[in-house]
Amino acid sequence: MHRIAIVGGGTGGTVLANRLANELQPELESGEVEVRLITADRDHVYKPTFLYVPFGKKTVDDARRPIEDLVDRRVSLTIGEVTGVDTDTKKLTFADSSILAYDQLVLATGASLDPEAVPGLAEGGHHFYGPEGAEALRDDLAEFTEGHLVLSVVGVPHMCPAAPVEFTLMVDDWLRERGRREDVDITYTYPINRAHGLQSIADWATDLFEERDIDFETFFNVDEIDPDAEVIQTVEGSEMDYDLLVAIPPHAGSDLVTDAGLGEDGWVDVDKHTLEATNAEDVYAIGDIADVPTSKAGSVAHYEAGVVADRLASRARGTVPTATYDGKTVCFLEAGMDEATFIEFSYGEEPFVREPSKPLHWAKLGYNESYWLTARGLL
């Protein structure tokens, strides 16, 4: 039997497992192939939902569904924590010391938040990148009637590169709707010399920030935060006072990756087109954990999963894989509480940012609902 193991039950892992269930249906039914999805969390989480939680538009429960409801019945599902990968003997070790052998492995373990990497950040800053953070921000934002709100991108790279700009534009609009905007100053900060890594988004955001009286600071790299004094200190030697800090925390890859020799800094070194690991045979990485030169975004994981499904199916059948990933990334960007834009780009391309509109906002909300079909491998 040809054994395919997928570690991680986020967008990448779940889409991949379901795509393989379709592509390898005859082989799965005859027992020639096994597709095993391994995840530590019984729930699948659609993280973009958390952006809407601080504004009371979604709850954290809206972001979760039991993974067994999303995964094709032909996929073997294991709930367990993988603690070790031996790419020489092709074996995985679990937290309970059990061992699983594989023929082909896909790592789709995602990125994790590492607020502790910056002194004072965990105590002094809010975020919307996880359920507890999004709920705490919702509660404090509801009580926030005046002062200085700072949105600071502390860590790069991070999940969903558009989200900090989206949050800033949304909170501006949300405060205007409530008649509080005149009593709140908003500042957006970014580590490099423009408002976003992609020049076209930086230009678009800069124009909107100026139109909406949102201050922004560039070359702003947070060194430490004094949560008592409510002061941010930067590597560049500047200080900024805040009353409500919403920070994008540093992100980390995985010790699993480093320990397995698949990438020194916790992200898997891969060929950006085949998504095959550089340092091991028969290992792939998709989603946030893969070190490819594009965004850590759900759409990237989705398209990568389609490519790797084709490549794995070819290998399982003994044919030469030909599918490649060209860096395709698509992304909605909320420009307020009721308008959005949309971008699409591939490796080396600069996206064109369309004029924001209400229909695109509704399309974004519609996609959020239909995401569960994406996870099932149907969209």
Binding site: P191, I192, F219, V235, E236
Partner: protein, 79 residues
């Protein structure tokens, strides 16, 4: 420009796209002592303008930008 001898620290950011090399540099510089000479290797042309701009903002010295066939070496002294 100062004559470059051996760098104390080398950061290999070749093949990283913008702003990867700059972020690699910023992340490293904040852990280094004053006087440390850093060599940043980058294949990203924007680094040759972004890095000097950041150095000026952060108060570190640009020693030299060395152009090779397929990459640049940017030498920095930490202040």
């Amino acid at each position: 420009m100062t004559e470059i001898t051996e760098p104390d620290v080398t950061i290999d950011s070749k093949d990283a796209t913008c702003p990867g090399p700059l972020m690699d540099l910023i992340g490293k510089v904040k852990t280094l002592d004053q006087g440390t000479v850093v060599e940043l290797q980058t294949t990203e042309r924007n680094s040759t303008t972004d890095v000097p701009e950041w150095l000026e903002k952060a108060g570190h010295d640009l020693l030299e930008i060395e152009e090779h066939d397929d990459h640049w070496n940017i030498y920095i002294e930490v202040n």
